[in-house]
Symmetry: C2
Subunit: 354 residues, 2 copies
DNA sequence: TTTTAATGCGTGCTCGAACACTTTTTTAAA
DNA sequence: TTTAAAAAAGTGTTCGAGCACGCATTAAAA
């Protein structure tokens, strides 16, 4: 059962024509008589022709300039991983002519985002990967890029009512449910459970709200509302301070506080507080494998982390663009990455170097 | 900062020689004067030449016949996933001339294994992927294949004192520790914890022993030996029966049995027992996302599953062979796959279709 | 009828690496 | 010094797809 690889030449021979004609049919370049086209199309189907991607990309040799609009990793180390993912993908795809230009903005400054987004437009890239953490500010650009015919892939933050090639990231709702499930597994006696949004502008972060929904709904659907009281709180503090004051107060108000779910990568702030106050019995779960979270995970103060796989987000984002632009594959509108559960014991396997 | 892609021709020009000579140097085909070779080598290093894999494989057009020696998925559905992984890898690598021939043996019959292993030798494949579940029976073949110069990759079962290109699978010890960690998180009051080896010939399965070690050592290292008593038991029963009798007896002996760790993919057997006897408070953790385990996971009877990623094992196994044979990459001797923790809430993301 | 344009179709070069084959140079033997 | 053999270096074809170019036929315009 040898599968012969079908070439354009084979099709041409069978259709008693030349490879040039077959090529014109394949690429809809016109200038082919209808009957010949039909015949060729039939043969292509019959022989199940698939273009040889290797020969294709050897020939075409064209450069694909991709742009990545992404926050500065020096200001928030969470963004290091997507950068690495980008680079990993670029390495793999360089053979196919892929080049990535990074446009790095300050994740705390919408004006810097806007400036960089404008730059992207001027560069006319063939495709764009973007972490749209500034929702409102990004909207007009989506329109602009669509008009320019630049396909863009969103990652990290899901946004409704725009038309990206694809969104890559987590299912925030499920992510919340998962966190709830794990904490609940570790909770014995009735108590209060806190959903903590740490240092985050909730109004502009729909996905954190969705996480909270998923979290709350888990307790509802499992009929645990009487056993566990779920409260939520935005915990904001300047850089020098910590969450101490606000958490002190919370504990006064809810002495039976037994678990905390931090909806972003700032679980280490809460962990530091728990450590300082020797609160060993409060379970803690958060997101992302940034260095400071890892420390507290290894100390056993953070019990679990959910990995949002930021490296994978960058990596797959670029790959989706390549699949679309180079390999002409169909792209699913949403690619949810797995919700990896991380503990001290399996942490290693999820750290960057593959 | 444009990176120009360096071609053989570029090297030849700079070395004032022809591409044929450069080619001979690159492939150690000899017939090149020493000084010229040195010069070319220096330039290759200087310009950081990397062969264009695309052009390379377009030209060479050589077929790589890989063999996979792997149990019949119809007899144990665990093996379906590796088969899928193989096929996925084959699809991706077909362009590069990779063809896989499967040699399927009966996982309950060492003679069938031996017969198929002999067949593999006769076929002289370019590379081999093997699940060496029959340790003793496999040993002489490893020697044979080594002599024939056939590189082989082991997966699923780690074996010492043979010299594979690579082992792909899990770190069994860590896997046990992880299971312990999770169960412990869900255990409140003191009790007995059971390590169950279900329907397995322990004497020939070193990795199950290793899992148990990892499990026990977790409780030791966390100084929980006084709180939790860890016992282990082989639970064997014919196909028609269930684990009922043996578990009944165990519960009589240890009335405070509060958690069970099943070291292979047979957690569903224990789950069926727990369901039948309405034992909601006994925590259960096991391995692998086979259908019947998934059912009990969704019912909440199995609390967690650890995914051994059998699909990934097949997939990466083939890829390692390809990396070695086609892309001439360095292969790590061991590739541990992540220890994925699975619950009802994140199950979807780990099921086959990517 | 002649000229021009439009359409249909085939030829041949290109991409980078591999390798067979040929040519040139060097070395050793006569 | 000539000649043959061996070593070194160069040339040209191939892989499959893409695409520019050009030739041939037919239709439309002059």
């Amino acid at each position: 059962m040898k599968k012969k690889i079908v070439r354009i030449k084979d099709i041409a021979e069978r259709a008693q024509t030349s490879k040039g004609t077959v090529d014109r049919v394949l690429h809809n370049r016109g200038r082919v008589a209808d009957d010949v086209r039909e015949r060729i199309l039939a043969i292509i189907k019959e022989l199940n022709y698939e273009p040889n991607l290797i020969a294709q990309s050897l020939k075409s040799q064209r450069a694909f300039n991709l742009a990545a609009l992404i926050p500065d990793p020096n200001l928030d180390s969470y963004w290091e991983a997507p950068h690495n993912g980008l680079e990993k993908a670029e390495k793999e795809l360089r053979q196919y002519g892929v080049r990535i230009t990074k446009f790095i903005f300050n994740s705390h400054s919408d004006t810097s985002f806007i400036a960089k987004a404008k730059e992207v437009g001027r560069e006319h890239p063939d495709g764009l990967l973007i972490a749209p953490i500034f929702y409102k500010e990004a909207l007009p650009f989506f329109k602009e890029w669509a008009e320019m015919g630049i396909p863009y892939v969103l990652f990290n933050t899901q946004i409704e009512h725009v038309n990206p090639l694809c969104y890559i990231g987590q299912d925030s709702y499920r992510s919340g449910s998962l966190a709830a499930k794990i904490l609940r597994f570790g909770l014995h006696s009735p108590g209060t459970v806190l959903v903590a949004h740490v240092n985050e502008d909730i109004s502009n972060s729909a996905h954190l709200i969705t996480k909270e929904e998923g979290f709350r709904d888990y307790f509802k659907s499992e009929q645990l509302e009487d056993t566990f009281k779920v409260i939520s709180k935005e915990i904001n503090f300047p850089d020098e301070e910590g969450p101490d004051k606000q958490l002190d107060e919370l504990r006064k108000q809810y002495p039976d506080l037994s678990a905390i779910y931090v909806t972003n990568s700032k679980a280490f702030e809460v962990a530091a507080y728990l450590e300082k106050n020797a609160l060993k019995d409060i379970k803690l779960i958060g997101y992302d494998l940034i260095g400071r979270n890892q420390q507290y995970l290894n100390k056993g103060i953070i019990d679990f982390l959910i990995n949002q796989n930021p490296l994978g987000q960058g990596y797959w984002g670029i790959h989706q663009l390549a699949n679309h632009l180079i390999f002409k594959k169909e792209i699913p509108a949403i690619k949810f990455l797995p919700l990896d559960i991380i503990t001290k014991e399996n942490l290693d396997y999820y750290l960057d170097p593959q």
